[in-house]
Subunit: 743 residues, 2 copies
């Protein structure tokens, strides 16, 4: 059972070091730190600036080192000269390296036995244990643990425990390294590092954006010969631990981070002082209690298939970790604050993939996420103005201020649907949690984005309907198309909402409503097929059998972009994504037609694709397909052999995984689709049980599905009507309803 709460690495391989760094990221919302080895690896300098190679300009990855440190505080952005605004990687504070007889513990060079590293998901704690057969002779048992406190979000606590088979002197280095880069670039305008007290280090960096980050780290150990070693942008203490045979030595390192942007400013040294007398165990207990409460609100129990349980818990862990409660100045970036892929920016991923999980488990956290777009409305207005439009246009890749940071024009200029997706998510939030949100905080967003759309929409000569031209839909392998079904429907939805939103003039409202009705959803000749765009059939066949030789690698890695752009290959489902978001608007026949037509064209090169396909497959009763897509979606970050989370967590995919379980296999209809709580369970054959808590329009509920029976317990205070399959029951408060289900 504990196994399903643990992600374990049982042998160290340098080839998967970066993947585990990402997967083992710890965080408190406020502070995140990748799962880097405390003692680091040789030959992986973290201060390289490989900007000067011609091919790196458009590449997302500047470096391909064997290890990549990452320390992130959401909201700290700086300006990269080539890549535009990005999240800044802060100084590395985990450094803790034992040396024996001049040999530094080194996972590549040293003789290591009995290695195990595990992330305890329930306790959000990373532990490593190993036996180190030193070249000098002594054999050391090394145990390391660390957590970023859920109770004290700016605090990271580390502990190293050493014991040896004979008396030995261990030299320990414990430092703080500010000589780091972000995507190869140095964002620090100023760095100051100095000893703080007899066993501490204080660091202050000023970013190129003018923000400051301060870190104070403090060491505790029964050791001697404490020496401070300074080098440019680095500081470290060294000290000696004398271990008796069989005796133990313990080193603790506590670091507190503060920035000039904090909503709750603190003095790192004062926090450390305050906690000085609190032992490790007490700090850990408080941290674990906070995580236990989080898990209670959202854990999804799966029985019958440990891999599924594993993957789902990993997803939920990272979703919980990455969320910053109560801070509407940030959302959850595309890599979940676990790497520099996508530059720490905010995408539609938040609205479409991540919000539902929080919305149905912890609505106030969902509100923080939708509030982010209210907060960043000025940036969206600036984006619209920069392109000559009125109103507000949300960025394809947003920084904390809502400003467009995407450096690649096809996405930046053409993937406009994000502006409608923002409104969709607000409507979703309102329907599920707070109806008055639409006329309150969301109103200005709805109206301002509608004004942008009205200027962005064209009416071609000869046409008697409006058109949205030159757009990129979710399928990014068709960069510029016309009347994209997904985009048109989302924009139509947003405009229809705007027509009913206070603040629109009567004339505006009429125009919004009329345009919403007029935007076409293009159809194939049979009238059943929804076309991805009106010009989709002008594209050629992708000829996968000829060009997609290695199906384990993305299609896009095997053909030039030019072929992607002139053929019907899809990066991810586009029409099916639409049918996932608005299932009630399409008949099963239409969904099935779209599935049959697009699936052979779909590469699933995007990690956002498989989850949506699993959900659609559930609707269509395609159990085998649903299972295959579930596996693909669920295990992306666990697949360390193929990179996994090396660049960060696929956090949208994590959100999709929750949706597959709850909207797919349990068949929950969203609050936009249904006023009443409705489930259509369809358990995978391998699963003997699926159970989870929900909040349905303010009412806490728990759902427990086993083959043939679904039990819904009303944990609220008023009766709750529930439909499962075709059967409806009204469940009294505190009671449970049992439903017979087909599967």
């Amino acid at each position: 059972m504990a196994e399903t709460w643990t992600l374990a690495e049982t042998a160290f391989r340098v080839s998967s070091a970066r993947a585990y760094e990402g997967l083992f990221t710890l965080g408190s919302g406020y502070l995140h730190v990748r799962g880097s080895l405390e003692e680091h690896l040789e030959g992986a300098p973290q201060n390289a600036s490989p900007l000067r190679t011609p091919d790196s300009v458009t590449a997302e990855k500047f470096v391909n080192l064997k290890a990549k440190w990452g320390t992130y505080v959401p909201g700290l952005f700086g300006r990269h000269p080539l890549l535009n605004r990005e999240m800044i990687n802060l100084p590395f504070f985990l450094d803790l390296a034992p040396h024996v007889g001049g040999e530094r513990l080194d996972m590549e060079q040293s003789t290591i036995e009995a290695y195990r590293r595990e992330l305890d998901l329930r306790a959000a704690t990373l532990r490593r244990s190993l036996r180190w057969r030193t070249r000098a002779g002594p054999v050391l048992e090394v145990a390391l643990a660390r957590f970023v406190s859920a109770e004290r979000p700016p605090l990271c606590v580390q502990r190293m425990t050493l014991s040896a088979d004979r008396p030995v002197e261990v030299l320990v280095r414990a430092g703080l390294d500010a000589d780091v880069r972000t995507n190869g670039y140095d964002h620090f305008a100023d760095v100051a590092i100095e000893p703080a007290g007899s066993r501490g280090i204080a660091c202050r960096v000023q970013t190129d954006a003018g923000d400051t980050a301060r870190m104070v780290t403090r060491l505790a150990a029964d050791a001697s010969d404490w020496t401070y070693v300074a080098s440019p942008r680095r500081g470290a203490w060294t000290f000696r631990l004398r271990l008796a045979a069989g005796g133990r030595g313990i080193v603790e390192k506590r670091t507190v981070v503060a920035t000039s942007r904090d909503l709750a400013p603190c003095d790192p040294a004062a926090v450390l002082d305050e906690l000085a007398a609190t032992p490790y165990e007490a700090l850990a207990a408080g941290h674990e209690a906070a995580w236990a409460a989080r898990w209670d609100s959202c854990d999804v129990l799966v029985e019958g298939d440990q891999r599924s349980q594993h993957a789902l818990r990993a997803s939920l862990y990272h979703l919980l970790r990455a969320h910053v409660p109560g801070d509407p100045r940030v959302a959850i970036d595309a890599k979940g604050y676990a790497g520099e892929g996508y530059y720490g920016r905010y995408f539609w991923d938040t609205e479409m993939y991540i919000v539902p999980f929080f919305l149905y488990t912890d609505p106030p956290r969902a509100r923080t996420l939708v509030d982010f777009r209210v907060h960043s409305l000025p940036g969206a207005r600036a984006n619209a103005a920069a392109l000559g439009y009125p109103g507000a246009r949300y960025a394809w890749e947003s920084d904390g201020d809502g400003r467009e940071a995407c450096a690649l024009w096809p996405y930046r200029d053409h993937e406009v649907h994000v502006t409608a997706d923002v409104v969709y998510a607000m409507a979703h939030y309102a329907a599920a949690a707070e109806p008055e949100y639409l006329r309150g905080p969301a109103a200005e967003v709805i109206l301002e984005t509608a004004r942008y759309w009205m200027a962005r929409i064209d009416r071609r000569p000869g046409d008697d309907y409006p058109s949205l031209l030159g757009v990129m839909g979710p399928d990014e392998y068709t960069p510029i198309c016309h009347n994209n079904a997904f985009t048109n429907r989302m924009v139509g939805f947003a405009l229809a909402l705007a027509a009913q939103t206070p603040g629109a003039s009567a004339e505006e409202a009429r125009a919004f409503a009329e345009t919403a009705r007029g935007l076409p959803i293009p159809r194939g000749a049979d009238g059943v097929l929804v076309l991805q765009s009106e010009d989709f059939e002008l594209l050629a066949e992708p000829q996968f059998e000829r060009f997609w030789r290695d199906r384990r690698r993305p299609f896009s890695s095997q053909v030039p972009q030019e072929r992607l752009y002139r053929t019907r290959c899809l990066k991810q489902g586009d029409v099916l994504m639409l049918m996932h978001l608005a299932p009630q608007e399409f008949s099963d026949a239409e969904v099935r037609r779209a599935w049959d037509y697009y699936l052979p064209y779909t590469t699933h090169d995007s990690s956002l694709s498989a989850g949506v396909h699993a959900i659609i497959a559930c609707r269509l009763g395609l159990d085998e397909a649903a299972w295959d897509f579930w596996r693909r979606s669920a295990e992306i970050d666990l697949d360390v052999e193929h990179g996994g989370a090396a660049e960060g967590i696929h956090i949208a995919c994590a959100g999709a995984n929750w949706q597959v379980a709850v909207l797919g296999f349990a068949g929950l209809a969203t609050a936009l689709e249904s006023d009443r709580l409705r489930l259509r369970p369809r358990l995978p054959h391998a699963w003997s049980r699926l159970a989870f808590p929900l909040v349905w329009k303010g009412c806490p509920v728990s759902v427990d599905i086993v083959p043939g029976t679904t039990t819904v317990r009303n944990r609220g205070t008023t009766p709750l009507p529930v439909t499962v399959g075709e059967e409806t029951q009204e469940i009294p408060p505190g009671a449970a309803g049992r439903f017979r289900t087909r599967v």
Copy 2:
């Protein structure tokens, strides 16, 4: 009359300094040097590397200094970290600066009177004269002259003549500066500069591509106190001239350049030794004689409108200058070796805009240009292979090896027509000059490009014809379209030729021919309108009246790219370009329909647009439009107020200007259009005479058009049938035929 041979600057303005630098570029084919001031300007450092600004990445211009040195030897390419392979700007050798009483001659700071600078087009010599009222009191007359020898292409000769109104001592600095950049980047892996003899400087640079360039400069003056001043990457001599009142002092500077790539290697010092006894006047006379012979072969005489004559001679001067005779390793880059715009790369401009001028005036020079594509076939093969195609694919922006150097994917990946344009130009060359070329040197190019096309062409499900999808036509404001009429016709032409080319198997030949026949030329509903592409009508109206507020500036500078890409705005004529290249395939009604439909959509933001419109207007008898477009095309580089040639000469436009005069106003049908020499003169009202030499299929001819009469003289050795308007005469060798013409 001399006025029409002279481009003059009568007042120095720093705002137009860069435009004149480009316009006044001197060159011998082998060596080119921008018209920079010998003494330079303050505050225009030539060693800046402004690479680190976020917005510069996609910009073509890295620096916007008030002066920009440029020294170019065609074929010397290096690798820019952001921009890819580019022509390297070599060390600056013109430096020659007089100082009086500590004051350096400075066009901005000094008191200057009687200023005049002129480029003598006939003599290809740049002269400057001015009166310098020094702060110390003496008034100096300064005269400067220089030329890059047409007789000795690696040699540049400079002379400065000084006289004063009273006795004065002038300190002169004369140096060589290798601390230069190309688009902000330092391409020199190694630089050595040292004194060479008592009055010389020798410089050797090694480029990042491993090529070397050597320069030896030598000074002559009746002066004293010769002192060599060394600084990093720079070397200079200073010396003192003592002028009596009314007496003259003369300084001569001769520089010879050699590179490791030279077809005719030389030792610069030995060349200078050899010429040591030859006086300036003799060198100038040899140079001018060589230019006179060039002008004889191609000068176009215009009477009645001096502006036209002026502009045309300027165009022809730069075409003659930029051509490198006998070296098939280079073509003529997009800025005519007069600046770093477009990075010194080779575009379709060579084939479509420049070749015709040489082809009908000096066919061996045209052959060198088409041979460049034969020479660079291996690069074209590598380009195809890099994208997974067989055969050969010519680069949108080619370096000397034919490799793709374009860093911007829409052009690089999608503007594929260049590969067909290359074949078109070979066919044009063969038809006009050397029919056997097609079965000889061109055959492999024709076959290999045909093999690329066969793999690049798709057949969509349900279609019974082949399609060329995802292309950019000459109108670069529609980045990715399907079945572009221009591209399809050019590819069809190339494939039809390939079907008849030895080396193709019977099966291949059948497939080439069938595909050539099948590629559609899309049409509008009326069957008369040729559509730019099959999806052109899906685009929106560009709404110029609303968004193009300042018509003197490009439309693209006033709207975001996103609007360009979703509307029917054209950067340049696309269908009309096709009708210009294949006039015989379209009726006047079709041409007129295309003109009426596309002209309102055409921004002419490209300098390639106006000339083609002038030619089409001539065909359609639209005299006023023809004249307006002629003016726009003819004077682009002369328009120093709007930048003119600041980044280099619009050399394709120069070629187009010749075409407007000869194919447009004289109405010459090309050898691809007509087997017989055919003219349809239509003189502009302002012109009283248009006369030019031609070579028609090996037969030298001179044409002289005055209102109502056209005279064609056969300067060859066999009778020549000629049609002017509707009348045909066979003109005996040595005789002239007179034709009555309408206008």
